[in-house]
Amino acid sequence: MFDLLGVSPQVLFGQLLLGLINGSFYALLSLGLAVIFGMLNVINFAHGALYMVGAFVAWLLLNYLGLGYWWALFLAPTVVGLVGMALEKTMLSRLYKLDHLYGLLLTFGLALILEGAFRHQYGVSGQPYPIPDLLKGGQNLGFMFLPNYRGWVVAASLIVCFGTWFAIERTRLGAYLRAATENPVLVQAFGINVPVMVSLTYAFGVALAGLAGVLAAPIYQVSPLMGSNLIIIVFAVVVIGGMGSILGAIVTGLGLGLMEGLTKVVYPEASNIVVFVVMAIVLLIKPAGLFGRER
């Protein structure tokens, strides 16, 4: 069956596994976007920039405070979350009564500022970030060599993704959140501080981006431009999954990672376009996305 693709099963498994690793980045980033969109109805164009900030915070912690990867794993998302909360309180919150497009435009401007500022300060070549000692080396799986760090990335992001899904869909806090998106006035009447909840949601969403940034730092160069190309792909993932759908973001992220991995074997030139082709097809058949509902 595998020979149909002209590829041996070993290679295929290897590529699918690598696809899964990329997919877990997509899932983590699109999850953050979906959480923010679901709650605030804002498409966060600054998501890629905040992912970059997460990676940079990790690098700064290491180089100026000597705090290593494991510290960064907690501190960087916190910092990014706080930055996000500040942005939400001072700027985004003033736009909720207007058309949602203004949120998109504002975050687009913020993304330009963040990326430009880091570019100005640190140049564009990027900075090295080492793999933590504990995760150096790798496993020989027979069909491929899997670096330990990549295994860790998949595990960590799956745990975070499904943890988030569980928290939002299956807990009381999540129920408040979902209720507040439907009818904020009513939820407010129940004595819940909706504005604070909105701020925290935005902070959490961008903290996920910050976390993805830290996870990515040892694999990719820590560079001011690392988020700007990724963000467009992640947008496509969110559109395919159905905007605002938590499960849709996770499943589509992983699925597209696999699909991209497969394309890299069969027709590598197209691996950047495949996501957009899938998007066009999905939209023609199901305009609301795979897991979305028409609003």
Binding site: V11, Q15, G116, S125, Y220, M226, S271, N272
Partner: protein, 400 residues
């Protein structure tokens, strides 16, 4: 009233664009046009302007009685901004020379303008071989490197090291393909073999699957026919997947010292590629680079050193010709040997290519490096004659 206001706004908009003043012609004005904020900002950027100023200072800020002025602009990696800035400089700014211009599209656009308007163009940043090929110009001089030198030089030098079988990881667009093509031609000519290649889209973040395909090929050398972030990501991930440990060599086909600085030695060690300049070659280069570092805060790249050398040579030619007439200066530049810390006995061919020695370098292991920027072992000096494409084969109409 409203129309007046609107008209006023429109007028204001338009007039504020006319910032350029007319200046007298008694001055040699050198325009350093490059990327100051984007992907080439580190390897060219302000450093190139510093290098140009250093060349001017060596002449005491004056040549043939005329003061030397350096002006700077950011083309933001956009060919149209480069073109309009170059036109503006020539039409209204009395700029005599345009220097640097990384980004091939921008450089080709400026080459067209300087050819039409008869201004000297000193290219240090761009790599496209078309600049000294079909698109060559009597006023265009290509200085530091070009894609052929990087690709063919690395192919030849590695072959001589006994590494004969290549696998390419190639960025899928004209630039990557031409790097692959040039290297392939050289390797095949020498009797080596290309065992395979994989094309990746420009701007890929993840290279692991391409690297695994390369590893599976059992080639002696994995050649990265890409540049910038693509190249650094590929090299970094090759280290992660332990490819060098398994005995394969990695060769970059277009890398700069800033890329190695960005990667760090643990990830980059063992990588081989061709360079046009290294600060630690001899006393002269060390001296100059030390002065450069005092101003720029880092060691020069070959592009920045190339800007210095090209501007210096231009000024020397003006000094000798006692005029800034482009035709006479261009003739003088071709006539005089290029002799400075960057190029020893450099010569300019009819197509505008400046021939100078290139160097095959291997990146040091972290233990061997004595400090920041001590990154290369120079494995081999590639003599000028074999480093660049024979002008007769370049397709430049100026070569007869």
């Amino acid at each position: 009233m409203r129309s007046l206001l609107l008209a006023g706004t429109a007028l204001l908009t338009l007039t504020s664009g006319a910032a350029f003043a007319q200046m007298s012609n008694d001055v040699i004005r050198i325009g350093v046009l490059n990327d100051r904020s984007g992907i080439y900002a580190d390897l060219a950027g302000e450093g190139s302007a510093i290098a140009a100023r250093m060349a001017a200072e060596e002449f005491g800020g004056k040549v043939a009685g005329a003061p030397i002025e350096i002006v700077v602009a950011d083309h933001q990696n956009k060919a149209d901004i480069a073109a309009s800035k170059a036109r503006e400089w020539v039409d209204t700014g009395n700029v005599d020379v345009i220097a640097d211009v990384p980004n091939s599209a921008a450089a080709l656009a400026v080459q067209g303008i300087t050819r039409d308007k008869k201004r000297i163009f000193l290219m240090s940043g761009p790599g496209a071989t078309a600049l000294t090929g079909a698109q060559c110009s009597p006023y265009g001089f290509h200085w530091a490197y070009d894609n052929y030198a990087m690709a063919a030089g690395t192919g030849r030098a590695l072959y001589e090291q006994g590494k004969k079988n290549w696998y390419f990881v190639t960025a899928d667009y004209a630039f990557g393909q031409s790097l692959e093509e040039e290297t392939t031609k050289m390797v095949n000519k020498l009797g080596g073999k290309i065992v395979g290649s994989v094309r990746h889209p420009l701007g890929s973040a993840d290279f692991s699957s391409f690297l695994l395909q390369a590893q599976g090929s059992k080639a002696d050398v994995i050649g990265f026919a890409n540049a910038g972030a693509d190249a650094t990501n590929a090299v970094k991930q090759a280290a992660e997947f332990g490819i060098t440990q398994s005995g394969q060599s990695l060769a970059g086909l277009l890398l700069f010292i800033t890329d190695i600085h960005a990667l760090g030695l643990p990830a980059a060690q063992g990588l081989m590629f061709t360079e046009g300049f290294y600060w630690n070659l001899d006393d002269q280069t060390r001296d100059w680079s030390k002065k450069f570092e005092a101003k720029a805060g880092k060691k020069p790249t070959m592009v920045q050193a190339g800007v210095y050398s090209a501007v210096r040579h231009y000024l020397k030619a003006v000094d000798a010709a006692k005029t800034d007439d482009p035709d006479k200066v261009a003739a003088k530049m071709r006539e005089l040997p290029v002799e400075d810390m960057f190029a020893k006995k450099g010569k300019i061919a009819a197509n505008g290519r400046m021939f100078h020695d290139m160097y095959l370098v291997r990146v040091k292991a972290p233990g061997q490096s004595k400090g920041p920027w001590d990154y290369y072992d120079v494995v081999k000096t590639i003599p000028a004659e074999t480093a660049f494409l024979d002008p007769a084969l370049s397709g430049c109409p100026l070569v007869k």
